[in-house]
Amino acid sequence: MTTATVTVTAPGRLPTTDGNIWEIWKFIRISAIWLSIIFGAVWLASYAVGGLIPSLLDKYMATSVAAQNIASILRLLTPLVAVLVFIPINATYMVLAERRGLALFTVRNGPNRVGPDGFLQTGADAIKLLFKENINPTGADILMFTLAPIVFFAPSVFGALPLLPAVTSENGLFNVLSFPTGIFYVLAMSSIPVVGIVMGGWASNNKYSLVGGLRSAAQAISYEIPLVLAIITVCIMVGTLNVSDIAWMQNPWELSQLKGADALARWDGLHVDSQAVQDLRSIGVQNLGNLAFFNWNIFGGDTVSGFLALCIAKKVAGGAMIFKGICALLLILCQWLLCGLYMTGACAEINRIPFDLPEAESELVSGYNTEYSGIRFAIFFLAEFTNLFIVATIAVVMWFGGGSAPIPSSMYAPVMDALGFIASNVNKLLFMIGVPETAPILDPKVMSGTFWAVSKVYFLVYFAILVRGTLPRFRIDQLMDFGWKRLIPLALILLLAVTYLKELI
């Protein structure tokens, strides 16, 4: 209905169902700027610590043993530096993104006063938190009270380190972290924060905090089981625990580069020799690159994309194709369910709606968080958003292909060429000013990988924000009921299903 010609003397708001691109554009603009800042800063810091300085030391002080040791130590510390630079800046962005995202969903403006479009809002909040008094409640165990946020936060951050090489296509800076049992390490580290929650609840000397802390701990350990089972199922399907390998195998571009026996060695090592694998090798593994996102684990990974490649090359036909096709569809369904299971378990781990009972304001006035103020509260707060990012990154690496583009490799080749051109020119400029040639700053694989990984991770993060804006929360017993009686049986069934379906295809 058009209301433009109404002559009203009554003040009023006209129906507001018109389109709104401007607000969405503002949101995209802020995100783009902040994300560039975040990842630019992270990359520069990692490059400086892990690439530039060690290579300079190698070049100009090659004889000094101390310099060599310092260079190796710096190389080892690069992932830590990356993470330490990343966390505060990312949290600064994510809080703003959450507030503006929720505002978009609730037809409001988010923060838009502090800085252009609310750019500096979280900075202002952080400064405010830092100025607050560090209250020590009477009767509280001060040592445990202070350690609780640290025990809560640090393990999940360290646990995320193996994901770095997965996302950046095993760039030399981060390759030190690419070890064979990567995912096991990640999952193990994600179990430690529970101790921090219980410590926080107990050490606060507050009935409500204690109840909140225990509830949160119960919730966390209950939902860890479907989470771990989901990840293990994917590892069974893929055949390896190495995070870098899992990401590599889903990358269409990387797969398209597998021409020749040397390049294939890594692929061979990850695949048990079977009829299907032999057929695939005979038609050329690089053809998998043309199947784009069907290589992603969410669509069945290697198993299904290999099957599709064989179908296209007419190596499988007739009844076998139909049977294997049905199995492939079932496998894809299982993978979607597993991803959903993982995200549910992950939301419960990090206390997000619909599982944020421990922090529920209307129930227990903030649970284990109640007595915290100032910098300690800031760490809990930071932890929630960083955990969300980490959990989303794990999901992206395990299911959505890590740093890979969902574009067939033949179409993506020009993009990679262009990136390679830019990278080589920038590197040449750097080499001209004296940087040793062992430390190029730009790498097309890293550029492409970071861009796609970040887009996918934030897509999942925005989905989590949408869920936060929609769903009410579970009651504690319903939560436990849901976790133990619904999710764990589903996870076990899916584990069996995927194990068999993978063999059948």
Binding site: T7, P11, G19, L104, F105, V107
Partner: protein
């Protein structure tokens, strides 16, 4: 078994429906108004801050110290000081205090005022740093002639009757008393004349047709979405109390 699967699928579908509805709202205009960058467009009889209007034509104060508003106020926030003027033998206003910290903006005082002197303005930004500063006296409360004309027009109040001439000038009064009885009858015309005077204060509202039997009231308001283009006298008004506060 199948019932369980069916229920799960149905639950997922409902959750997806809820998520979709919320997601769709991202494509709608925000309803937040950018106050104070855009002032809300308020109705004529919005009950904001109280003020004392003057006669829009002559500028005389309209208060006759009848003390009706002081008596009717449920919160007893009005304090009027008056004395009987020795010349006219009628009550004359000395001071008029309203404690806006007590006032509940019910508008009863404006209803009982016989001369439409005390009115509710459209101003609601009265925040201050101390309770004493909320006590407005006669100086702060009195509106200028332009502002009074704006409010008389906006609230569609009848124009005040002119004050009778002073009894000291008797022959002039006899001559003045003659046109005086005509004036109330001619009030609509006077109202029509007063309208063009009042116009400069208020540009966005189209003029009422003078003495209009046909009721095509084409008063168009600025669209709700646009920032208010009215040059609100309240801006001057709010500058006034600010100055007064500065002086205090």
């Amino acid at each position: 078994m199948f019932a369980l699967v069916g229920r799960s699928v149905e639950s997922l579908r409902q959750v997806a429906r809820g998520l979709g509805t919320v997601l769709m709202h991202a494509a709608r205009n925000p309803i937040t108004k950018d106050f104070p960058d855009s002032m809300p467009h308020l109705a004529g009889h919005f009950r904001g801050r109280l003020a004392l209007a003057v006669n829009p034509q002559s500028g005389d104060h309209l208060c006759i110290s009848c003390l009706q508003c002081e008596r009717v106020c449920p919160d007893k926030c009005i304090e009027i000081t008056s004395h009987k003027s020795p010349e006219t033998n009628k009550p004359e206003l000395i001071n008029f205090k309203i404690d806006h910290g007590l006032c509940m903006f019910c508008g009863l005082c404006t209803e009982v005022c016989p001369t439409s002197c005390i009115i509710n303005t459209n101003d609601f930004e009265m925040a201050d740093y101390s309770r004493e500063a909320l006590v407005y006296d006669l100086r702060k409360l009195t509106l200028t002639q332009d502002e009074s004309a704006f409010y008389f027009n906006k609230k569609e109040l009848p124009m005040p009757k002119p004050k009778p001439a002073k009894p000291a000038a008797k022959p002039a009064a006899a001559a003045a008393a003659k046109p005086a009885p005509d004036k109330p009858a001619a009030t609509p015309e006077a109202a029509a004349q007063a309208k063009p005077e009042a116009k400069p204060a208020d540009t966005a509202e189209a003029a009422k047709p003078a003495v209009a039997p046909d009721v095509d009231k084409t008063k168009e308001l600025p669209k709700a979405g646009s920032d208010s283009a009215e040059t609100k006298p309240e801006d001057k008004d709010s500058a006034k109390p600010a100055e007064n506060k500065g002086e205090q």
